[in-house]
Amino acid sequence: MDEEGSRRRFLKSVGALGAALPAAAAAQHAGHASAKSEKYMFLAPAEVTFLDAAVARLIPADELGPGAKEAGVTYFIDQQLFGGYGVMAKMYRQGPHAEGTPQQGYQSPLTPQEVYRAAIAEINAGCAKQYGKSYDQLAAAQQDEVLRALEEGKFPLEAVPARFFFNMLLENTIEGFFSDPIYGGNRGKIGWKLVGFPGVAAVYTHLVEKHGVPYDALPVSIADILEGKAALDEHGHPKHVLLVRKD
């Protein structure tokens, strides 16, 4: 298969789409230089900008509430990449390495740290080559096109297969959106509030047979408990505070 050819065709299609969109839309989605309390440990500023833009398309802010960017998913990914996950601490790393079949799973010699570093640089370079803009500067629809092309393997990468990077990014984004806030994502328990997940569980013995009754509890995180912000029972389970329903 002609990877270069398919890359050119893809970039052409994004270019055409980009030209059809008003420049204002792109500006609107440019990274806001808001003050952040997070201290990044692995990601470089350009990588933070890329991920802020990409995760905001994977789980966008909309009428349902904030999205992955607002939930701190970029910072979550930074912390994961700096820790054991990022260096494949519990994974088998010995060679020889071969691509293998899809059924054989992760076979890259690169760690997640290296995968992110290489893939982000390649994606930004590809975007810049086509229209002189990095990924974060593209309009939202163009950003989605790039993500879709990665997902479908039509935006070829050198370091790893494009699908491989896309799946890793999507998986980490979902982790960062729904994991306990102690990891730096799911800020304000945005993800849990979206779906109605109460987080750290209370004792549900007397509730499990209340069939079909909504359980509208204020979610409790591990961080809440460590900070003494949640009342606990004798086993350390939080006592959930139920929200008053308006209907």
Binding site: Y92, Q103, E151, W192, V208, E209, V213
Partner: protein, 586 residues
């Protein structure tokens, strides 16, 4: 150079579900027993303490309680035409590591395999004839029957405080239980768990269709319970952090809650953790094990002499140690000879997901094995004539814990990301539930375990190589029984339903189940089994290999109850016969 240690009567390799029971019983019977465990000591406090016990990322995605693949993994390929490559990250299955093994993070479903499961080959041939037998299928009779195992199922269920409802007591069918189960001596030790909304809807629909639903038997104890070892297991609080987690309540039965409090008080038992056994040493005639060699956390090598060697680690390590040590003849698929590594099998999970617009299920209020089951389409409980397959599986409306990183079902056709995905997740996270099917998996000439020629572990020893794919029998079975589950799903009345039979090529990537079986299969014939009906090596009779490694094929249930029964079955033979007169028992 290995340091040679003082001889003991018995050495137990792997202190998990089987190892903990055997060590306790044999120490109490007067043997000096050493337990060698490659992982670390783990207990309810502090290892599974609140609030960190409820951390989905840590336990489900970062595999806190599971095998560290950086030191040892397996290699995998679908067939012999491919080159096996290492499983670099955990996916399809999640073996444990450390004291308690996978029985720390198991889901708690505690089944007895059907009488048919133990006589798969002879009963199939008798009922349907040899034309019905799947091509290349090497499934066989176990050499032991359900009736022989019944007292041992009973003992294990009472040790682990299993919660359930009997369906057949001494041949009498009991309403509310499983009418298809083999006869049992008595009721379960604990009443069934409560019924969640999903289970209640499933029960109603299944009854209307003429089926006999019953509560899934679970080792999440429904009330505080004290077992024969004097250990007290607490009552489940339905927190929903069960499978893949340690239980902060000590309510899910495990070696930690049911056995270790007693075992650790046994004066003739010694536990050595971070002791990785790399070889069972045989005498020059290869007929007797004389010792095991292990390496500790400082890299020191020790030789532990013992009269009796019990291999009780996970399926893969039981088989690998046999291969590394030269215990039994390795299986050769080309010649169809040899036995060690033969009859590796797995599971054929499938299911149906139901979506609703107006009902909420609070599936996060859950327990391992909380659910309602029907068994009409398991084993040979239904007529297979003309269907073109053997086997089946149980169907369960499962309420085993919905945590949003891993469990966030959306209807088929929903994009994987973006605004539409977000809307679907927000809407259906609490408005959906699954009917899961634990489909059986037969064994085949082409599916086996051996030593990998290229990849090595941290000690420089060959990794175990898995060659595996499901066959046409499993795909046909999965399609047929999953459609049956869909009929029940439809009767419940969801707005949308996703039907997912298992028909694709086996992949090691997405999680399916930690139900790997076989490789050291039991049987009545040394030509087709690695161990006899007492789980004793045919070739080296002072070695017993205990665990799901002995299953000649896998049934349509979770395996743990049957592993527990085999453990007590082997124990009885060792205690009452072998210890008095060491030698071959069959």
């Amino acid at each position: 150079m290995a340091t040679k240690l003082k001889p003991v009567d018995a050495v137990v390799v792997g202190v998990g579900l089987s190892g903990s029971i055997l060590a306790k019983e044999l120490a109490e019977a007067g043997l000096h027993v050493v337990g060698l465990e490659r992982g670390r000591w783990r207990d309810t406090d502090p290892d599974f303490a609140m609030p960190h016990a409820h951390d989905e990322l840590r336990y489900v995605k970062r595999h806190e309680l599971m095998q560290d693949l950086s030191r040892e993994t397996i290699t995998f390929r679908n067939n012999t035409n491919e080159t096996a490559l290492p499983m670099r990250s955990l996916g399809s299955f999640r073996p444990g590591e450390g004291v308690g093994g996978a029985a720390v993070h198991w889901g708690g479903l505690t089944w007895r395999f059907l009488p048919w499961d133990f006589e798969t080959r002879s009963r199939t041939l008798a009922r349907y004839g040899s034309d019905h037998w799947p091509a290349e299928c090497t499934s066989q009779d176990w050499g032991v029957t359900y009736d022989e195992l019944e007292p041992h199922f009973d003992r294990f269920e009472y040790l682990y405080g299993v919660s359930g409802k009997a369906g057949n007591i001494k041949g009498k069918i009991i309403p509310g239980g499983n009418p298809y189960e083999g006869p049992r001596a008595r009721e379960y030790p604990n009443p069934a768990l409560k019924t969640a909304y999903a289970g209640a809807l499933f029960k109603e629909a299944a009854e209307k269709l003429g089926y006999k639903p019953f509560p899934t038997p679970s080792a999440a104890n429904s009330q505080p319970y004290t077992n024969e070892y004097g250990a007290t297991i607490n009552g489940c609080v339905y927190c929903g952090y069960c499978q893949f987690f340690g239980c902060e309540m000590g309510a899910k039965a495990s070696p930690q809650t049911a056995v270790l409090p007693n075992l650790m008080k046994q004066s003739r038992f010694e536990l050595r953790t971070r002791a990785n056994v790399v070889k069972v040493n045989l005498d020059s005639a290869k007929k007797r094990a004389v010792s095991v060699t292990y390496i500790d956390s400082r890299g020191r090598e020790f030789e532990q002499p013992a009269d009796l060697v019990l291999l009780t680690s996970y399926v893969f390590n039981n088989v690998r140690l046999m291969l590394l040590s030269g215990i039994g003849k390795p299986y050769d698929p080309a010649a169809n000879s040899g036995v060690v590594g033969r009859n590796y099998a797995y599971q054929t999970p499938s299911g149906v997901t139901l979506f609703f617009e107006d009902k909420v299920f609070n599936q996060f209020m859950a327990a391992g094995g909380l659910g309602m089951t029907i068994d009409e389409f398991n084993g040979d409980n239904f007529d297979h004539a003309g269907l073109g397959f053997i086997g089946g599986g149980f169907f369960q409306a499962a309420t085993s814990g919905s945590r949003p990183i891993e469990v966030r079902p959306v209807p088929r056709g929903t994009p994987r990301w973006g605004a539409q995905w977000k809307h679907a997740v927000a809407k259906y996270f609490n408005r959906s539930f699954p009917i899961t099917i634990q489909g059986a998996c037969q064994s085949y000439r082409t599916n086996y375990l051996d030593l990998d020629p290229a990849y090595r572990d941290a000690y420089g020893l060959p990794l175990l190589r898995m060659t595996f794919d499901r066959h046409e029998n499993e795909h046909k079975m999965s399609v047929w029984i999953t459609n049956k589950a869909a009929e029940i799903g439809k009767a419940i009345g969801p707005s949308k339903m996703t039907v997912s039979p298992r028909t694709e090529k086996y992949t090691i990537v997405p999680y399916q189940s930690t139900h790997n079986t076989g490789g050291a299969a039991m049987g009545a014939e040394p030509a087709t089994s690695a161990v006899n009906k007492y789980l004793q090596s045919w070739d080296v009779p002072n070695v017993f290999v205990v665990g799901a490694s002995a299953f000649p094929q896998n049934g349509g249930y979770n395996p743990t109850g049957t592993v527990g029964a085999l453990t007590f079955h082997a124990l009885q033979a060792i205690k009452t016969r072998y210890v008095k007169r060491p030698g071959p028992l069959a």
